[in-house]
Subunit: 256 residues, 2 copies
């Protein structure tokens, strides 16, 4: 039974897309079958996976609003080895058009239900907002992985995200829960980073992944080649960290 | 006649809020009167200015949807010395509610027109999306300041932003143009940063501000004290960079 993880945080630039692309590739390296769904109109997870978002026949938009079948929209990614539902700016229109639909929060959930058993993990990359696209991802997901930069604005925004998750689980998706919080761009020399990290572990305990993703320029370089970092520089600290995260995600899944 | 600048980039985490708060405080230091408008439901510019977003009587939401008068909503910021239109999560509802209004793109523009001459500069902090709140900011603004992290995803997203600016100037706001692109979190030791920076200056010429904002931890620490960096650590590289930016913005304005 495939596990569906929404990778979300409305704070911008905290490493959502970087986590999606690199966790997907690392899970494939542990012999799991993975589907990555790009729900961000920026289409960063699409470009970061080596797919040109400007040359798509079908995309996440068609899944949500044109009743396209999942298998028609899926692309395989040559290097990463995972399947991808690509996205581009067409998704911006979906925010508004979904509001007219009666089952608007369930569109993504309904379109992936039939195929979830083909994968071990389905990861959903979310835009930096708590809008209808993110609500669709949270309604479709089993649980939520929250990338967290250890800085003030990201910490400050956490309560709004937790409120949204609680509201979705009350009304739309009762089994939704927090899978874990992932500390990204972690710089141990920086006292602000250490302070915020301590607040996270105090408050969330073992919901905070032990794996820390360090700030590592190879993670920022890899997307310009359309590659996960594992296939760009496999010995980099970034590649090793996401492999360690994949190990931790798999272990937690099997302990359940 | 006050100059209205929208500070926007739909890419998340590129330094929009940090630029708004610190440019506002630096312009005040050059004896200009400044209004900062927070149009992001995250309310980061509000918190970063020392105002508790959870204890607001009136906010940007009331300006857009409840016909509140600007002078009723304005708060003064003790340290920064600029006026603020605060925001909080209520603005999330505005995205949807504005769609029912007939003059939906002009709500912000109409509510600030009468007061623009009280200020030298009006800065508008935008959320990381090209939604109705950002469209309101672009329709109200004279020009756009684009904070740019010199990395792949930020560069890749620039064309979508330029398209949106062009569409707004064609239909809603004919005088809208790009004021400048600001390189933020700039690390000269990093070849990716230098590559992307070179592409920006090749493509945009002197639209790229000469001022570079370096990566400086004091900029990330200051918001947790509700202070612009100028009032947190005035000798830091971050404080000096934003003062230099204020100088460049004022000079460009006076040369027109
Ligand atoms: N650990 C890291 N080390 C260095 N750079 C990183 C790291 N993680 C992400 N980055 C870079 O930081 C920027 C922000 O990351 P990313 O785009 O993945 O965040 P995001 O949360 O998906 O942003 P958005 O809110 O726009 O969707 C990108 O340029 C990315 O390449
Ligand atoms: N020059 C800098 N040096 C170091 N840290 C910075 C710098 N500029 C911004 N930051 C930090 O980086 C993070 C992102 O910046 P900021 O929140 O201003 O970006 P934003 O574009 O407003 O994000 P969002 O898309 O969520 O609105 C914040 O934690 C901020 O404190
Ligand atoms: Mg992203
Ligand atoms: Mg911001």
């Amino acid at each position: 039974m495939g596990k569906i993880l929404a990778i979300t945080n409305q704070k911008g630039g905290v490493g959502k897309t970087t986590t999606c692309v690199n966790l997907a590739a690392s899970l494939v390296a542990t012999k799991r079958k993975v589907l990555l769904i790009d729900m961000d109109p920026q289409g960063n997870a699409t470009m970061g996976s080596g797919i040109n978002k400007n040359k798509l026949e079908l995309s996440a938009y068609d899944l949500l609003l044109e009743d396209a079948v999942l298998s028609e929209v899926i692309l395989s990614t040559a290097e990463g080895g995972y399947d991808l539902i690509p996205a581009n700016a067409d998704l911006t229109a979906a925010e508004v058009e979904l509001l007219q639909e009666k089952d608007r929060e369930f569109r993504l959930r309904n379109s992936i239900q039939a195929s979830r058993d083909k994968y071990h993990f389905i990861l959903i990359d979310c835009p930096p907002s708590l809008s209808m696209l993110t609500i669709n991802a949270l309604t479709a997901a089993d649980s939520v992985l929250i990338p967290m930069q250890c800085e003030y604005y990201a910490l400050e925004g956490l309560s709004a995200l937790l409120d949204t998750i609680r509201r979705i689980s009350d009304v739309l998706n009762p089994s939704l829960h927090i899978e874990g919080l992932l500390r990204t761009m972690y710089d141990p020399r920086n006292s602000l980073t250490r302070d915020v990290s301590a607040q996270l572990t105090d408050h969330f305990g073992n919901k905070v992944y032990r794996t820390l993703i360090p700030r590592n320029v190879r993670l920022a370089e890899a997307p310009s080649y359309g590659l996960p970092v594992l296939h760009y520089d496999k010995d980099s600290r970034g590649a090793r960290a996401y492999l360690a995260l994949a190990g931790e995600v798999v272990r937690r899944q099997e302990e359940k």
